[in-house]
Symmetry: C2
Subunit: 81 residues, 2 copies
């Protein structure tokens, strides 16, 4: 059975590199990865925040947030949408 993994990003270069290098590297037999661009889907910022996401890019797996490098803070993403 696959579990959900959500990759939140904001289109920044650091985000795209993490998407290519890490989000797409997860085992597809175990993880169903959803890519969410918070700039294009600002209604999902609250959901990311509730999961503990403080900056993007971040990958939430099993409810646990993993911040990958640093592209932008969630506050900055909020300020720009």
């Amino acid at each position: 059975m696959t579990q959900n993994a959500t990759f939140y990003h904001a289109g920044c270069p650091v985000c795209l590199s993490a998407e290519q290098g890490l989000a797409h590297a997860l085992n597809p037999a175990d993880y169903a990865v959803e890519i969410v661009h918070l700039g294009e889907a600002p209604h999902r910022i609250a959901e990311a925040e509730a999961a503990g996401v403080a900056s993007v890019p971040a990958l939430v797996i099993g409810g646990q947030p993993f911040h990958i490098n640093f592209g932008a803070s969630l506050a900055d993403v909020k300020g720009s949408v």
Copy 2:
């Protein structure tokens, strides 16, 4: 053909959570993951540094460093070994 992925850590709680949640989540068909505890293998600190690792836990995939959350800076790891 698999490519190498190296997960560098220092045994900290943040490190262990990233190891379980992310390092072991990579697609085994594509990635051969090596786990390196820099506290136990301090001779590999220089290698991590050369790959661009600035803090642990970090995952180096295809020569690219991905810092995952923040456990400790590499400088702190150096100071403790």
